[in-house]
Symmetry: C2
Subunit: 220 residues, 2 copies
């Protein structure tokens, strides 16, 4: 998420297109996540940057395109993390549980990304739809899940009739809800789903749920 490191080698202002672009994206990510697409202020983004509003239009063209660029970069981070998945050396049950846990951890670690996804859904995913980059990448995780499911079914461990996409939805649902809806859930039911001392409880609960579903006795 933080693409800008070097504190300053300035004095007079230095020209660095890549840094300027990245800094705008960093700040815009926070601002859009904070206030939504309509609520975010271009002037505010510019003010939190070492450059000016002019540069936002210079590099991105406009507010909506900036939002699209923010989404594109955020999804790139996810895809990268998924590429580092290394669970296929485990037995199917352990592999799925590990995968669920990694998904859980990733959601917890990137609340801003969760907010951006919520916001993009309010806008009916029109920016994803309009982005060539986001058009058709598909998640690397899906193929991993697919292979684990195959293997688990072959060995008779898994009895459930789901494909990788459905299982991914199931796992993501819980992880996403826990982070995205923690405020209303907390306000209404008085329980903080993201309280640190409850973390292990929910992480285990998710794994138990998924494994129970996949391995349930379906002879009845």
């Amino acid at each position: 998420m933080t693409s800008v490191e070097e504190p300053a080698h300035n004095g007079g202002r230095i020209r660095d297109a890549a840094r300027t672009r990245a800094e705008i994206l960093d700040v815009a990510t926070k601002e859009f996540a904070r206030a939504g697409l309509a609520g975010a202020r271009v002037d505010e983004i510019a003010a939190l940057t070492r450059t000016t509003k002019r540069m936002i239009y210079y590099y991105f063209g406009g507010k909506e395109q900036l939002f699209t660029a923010v989404l594109e970069r955020a999804y790139t981070v996810i895809r990268q993390a998924e590429q580092d998945l290394d669970v296929e050396h485990l037995d199917p049950v352990a592999a799925i549980r590990r995968l669920a846990e990694l998904t859980f951890d990733h959601h917890e670690a990137h609340p801003d990304f969760i907010r951006l996804v919520s916001i993009e859904n309010i806008h009916e995913a029109e920016h994803i739809a309009g982005s060539e980059q986001l058009g058709r990448i598909g998640s690397p995780a899906l193929e991993v899940i697919h292979r684990i499911l195959e293997s688990g079914r072959k060995s008779g461990l898994f009895t459930a009739d789901v494909d990788a996409v459905d299982l991914h939805a199931m796992i993501s649902s819980f992880c996403f809800f826990r982070v995205a809806n923690r405020h209303t859930f907390g306000a209404l039911f008085g329980r903080d789903l993201t309280a640190p001392d409850q973390r292990e409880h929910y992480r285990t609960m998710l794994g138990d749920m998924v494994i129970a579903y996949l391995t349930a006795d379906r002879t009845a």
Copy 2:
């Protein structure tokens, strides 16, 4: 959701505080769900009403308070539906499955409500927190779940270590995600989670998941 019925007994304009208020709430619900709090336009809400913007300020005080009022009414509808739950005559397994299905159906039937909840979470539930009405009602469903869990555990059917709030979160996660995130999920994975011909599949999947979790063999 539709609180305004009578088509017209007008001619000259009639004064009806209750109808005007309700009509504003109806229109505002749609507008806020469509565009979010910042994206919604007070003028647009007024235009879609048989009254004027002036009345929005007369009855609600401002945009934010109108949003709070919209949320209050939306949650009232949910609570009402939960009060009509009638599942405790069933055995615990059937009761939980039925409850999950009703939750599923309710989410599907009220996509605008789902959007409002997403939006309220972007604003960190500050309107719920600031509303006396929404402050501490708690869901009637929670008590139903609590009693079913007790009964299921007593008979040895349920082995899982969850309370009613956690189970409610689990069920809601899936139902909520399926509706709220259908756009990004569809755009990224090419699958419409809310496609009518997949409805039964996902409804069954949810029930299977919850029951499998609650009844899993935990002797290992």
